[in-house]
């Protein structure tokens, strides 16, 4: 009897979707800590390592949330990561670091504008358009890199974006924090955040209030690609090389992160902290599975299952999706 009332009072709390990601994070940490108590999973060094590895995914997931919030699905972000890293690597050989960084970011800007123009003016599916631009960008990245991995030796660049420790924390994580703050400010303090939500909820109502859905959706896609281009910089600096295959497997990770971290996948206000925690969860899962001795094949299967589970359990609003 007593147990029943406890469960009843816990029920509504547990069913709160916005808490889901935090429960999972705790549960997963506990499970892996128990399973891996002798292989150093539960150590600050390993957690820093996980964060360092997950930094690009966190940034990409934040970007993707912008696109999803206006009901666009952008699958070209993996390709933007690769192209931005390759462009950055090539430019670092020739010009000052600043221009290499600007070059890489302009890849994102350009990709976002092209995606946006194609989607809005052809009035067609964002999924299919970005599938097309993904292929185009991968093709470009492969050809300008000559299928070679481009070594990056610029120490300043590596220090600025890489795994170099600053006050005990890798510099890449400072960038994650800065970009998360930027995203948070956009959502909560800037006009753009209101307009993103308005357009995501009801383009007709937004139009009625003289908000241009086309303009807002374009901006969302540009933010999405810009964040991906930034993830490219983080990758290049961490790997100290740029390859056309960077970001290849990240699309799945990013989608899982966003799916776990948000209460409603499309057309909703983005949840910055939730999405970061979602990415962290994927990092934990990857790391834990590796330490448990699973191969990448098993990891892929597990993550695929996780995505399907999260989508069916948490995102019931998608049940009738076309």
């Amino acid at each position: 009897m007593k147990r029943n009332t406890l469960l009843l009072s816990l029920g509504p709390l547990l069913r709160k979707k916005e808490w889901f990601v935090y429960y999972l994070l705790v549960v997963m940490t506990l499970i892996f800590s128990a399973l891996l108590h002798d292989s150093g999973f539960f150590s600050s060094a390993n957690f820093i390592n996980i964060m360092r590895q997950t930094a690009p995914v966190m940034v990409m997931a934040l970007g993707l949330s912008f696109a999803l919030s206006v009901r666009h699905i952008d699958v070209s972000i993996g390709a933007v990561v690769a192209l931005s890293a390759v462009v950055c690597g090539l430019l670092l050989r020739e010009v000052h670091m600043i221009f290499a960084i600007l070059g890489a970011l302009s890849v994102g800007l350009f990709a976002g504008v092209i995606n946006g123009l194609l989607i809005e003016y052809l009035k067609t599916s964002s999924l299919l358009v970005t599938l097309g631009t993904m292929s185009i960008m991968i093709g470009i990245a492969r050809s300008i890199s000559g299928l070679e991995s481009i070594p990056i030796t610029n120490e300043h660049f590596i220090m600025l974006f890489g795994s170099e420790l600053f006050m005990g924390i890798p510099t890449s994580l400072y960038w994650v924090a800065i970009l998360a703050l930027v995203a948070w400010l956009i959502v909560h303090c800037l006009t753009l955040g209101r307009h993103l939500l308005a357009v995501g909820k009801s383009p007709e109502n937004a139009l009625q209030l003289t908000i241009s859905p086309v303009k807002v959706r374009m901006l969302a896609l540009v933010m999405c690609s810009l964040f991906a281009a930034f993830a490219g910089l983080l990758y290049a600096a961490r790997m100290q090389s740029a390859r056309y295959a960077l970001g290849e497997f990240d699309l799945l990770n990013v989608f899982i992160a966003v799916a776990i971290g948000s209460t409603q996948l499309v057309g909703n206000q983005m949840r910055v902290i939730g999405v970061i925690c979602g990415a962290l969860l994927i990092g934990l899962l990857n790391n834990g599975l590796i330490l448990l001795g699973f191969t990448i094949n098993t990891q892929l299967i597990v993550k695929g299952l996780v995505l399907v589970m999260v989508i069916t359990l948490v995102h019931k609003e998608l049940n009738n999706a076309k």
């Binding site: 800037l190 753009l192 939500l197 109502n205 009625q208 908000i211």
Partner: protein
């Protein structure tokens, strides 16, 4: 000469027609309104009242016809056009975004920013000022929201309607068009709304009022235009007729020849 006459009006609508899905919803509708005049738009369900409102606010573009304002002839092609003309509307669906709070909805599409140049370029919201102005505008309608941060979806239909009405009145510099502004309001709120409509009309704002609430209409309106099947069938001085006559106008009865048809239309609409 003609344009001189038209120029005296705050707004004139001439030859407005609109088809939706092949059916003619508005057919050659023409009327004028003076500054500060309160005009009722009457007609049975499906007569085209909301379509008229949408054409005036740029939600729908008119197929033919034009608007004359300050001796300028123009068409309203987008909500922005309407906003530039000082036309503001309460739509039948209220036009609110459920997942935003009261203040955000009130200022949606015309957010206020801080004065600082950089913050202005970034679009940094001046939340305090917006909240203050929202509170004041709602207070004017006799509605004191305890919590302006509540999401609109958690509010009652009446409260939502008040927000839409307060917004239109606050921003409607020249013409305020209201589609059923009192359908979800309580008695005292309707009285407040009447008061506010009188105030803004005294300030020279023209009000177009779509309503089925007859006491409300006869209380606050100067004139009524009647739509039936998309045509303007009457343009009457409210003071000159009785409530009973007004009621039959409202049902669009007067100018429909076959009673069977109107009955059918009513049955279909309900």
């Amino acid at each position: 000469m003609l344009s001189d006459i038209l120029a005296q009006h705050a707004i004139s609508v001439t030859g407005l027609s609109k088809s939706l899905n092949g059916g003619k919803v508005l057919d050659d509708v023409s009327f004028s309104a003076n500054e500060g005049e309160v005009i009722a738009v009457l007609g049975h369900n499906g007569a085209g009242k909301s379509t008229l409102v949408k054409c005036l606010t740029g939600m729908l573009t008119m197929d033919s016809g034009y608007i004359v304002r300050q001796s300028q002839t123009m068409q309203i092609l987008s909500p922005l056009d309407a906003r530039k003309l000082g036309i503001e509307a309460v739509h039948q669906n209220f036009g609110l975004i459920d997942e935003l709070d009261v203040v955000s909805n009130f200022f949606l599409g015309r957010e206020l920013h801080h004065d600082n140049l950089i913050l202005k370029i970034l679009g940094w919201l001046d939340k305090r000022l917006m909240r203050f102005l929202t509170g004041r505008a709602l207070e004017r309608l006799g509605c004191e929201f305890r919590d302006l941060d509540r999401l609109v979806k958690h509010l009652s239909a009446g409260e939502r309607q008040l927000i839409a009405v307060a917004r239109a009145i606050h921003f409607g510099a020249q013409v305020v068009v209201m589609d059923e502004p009192s359908s979800a309001l309580g008695m005292s709120q309707v009285a407040q709304l009447q008061e506010v409509i009188r105030t803004i009309s005294a300030q020279g704002v023209t009000v177009l009022l779509v309503s089925h609430d007859m006491p409300f209409v006869s209380e606050v309106c100067d004139r009524a235009i009647v739509l039936s099947k998309g045509r303007l069938v009457a343009n009457i001085d409210i003071a000159s007729i009785s409530e009973g006559e007004l009621y039959s106008y409202m049902m669009g009865r007067c100018h429909i020849k076959e009673p069977d048809n109107s009955l059918n239309a009513l049955l279909q609409a309900s």
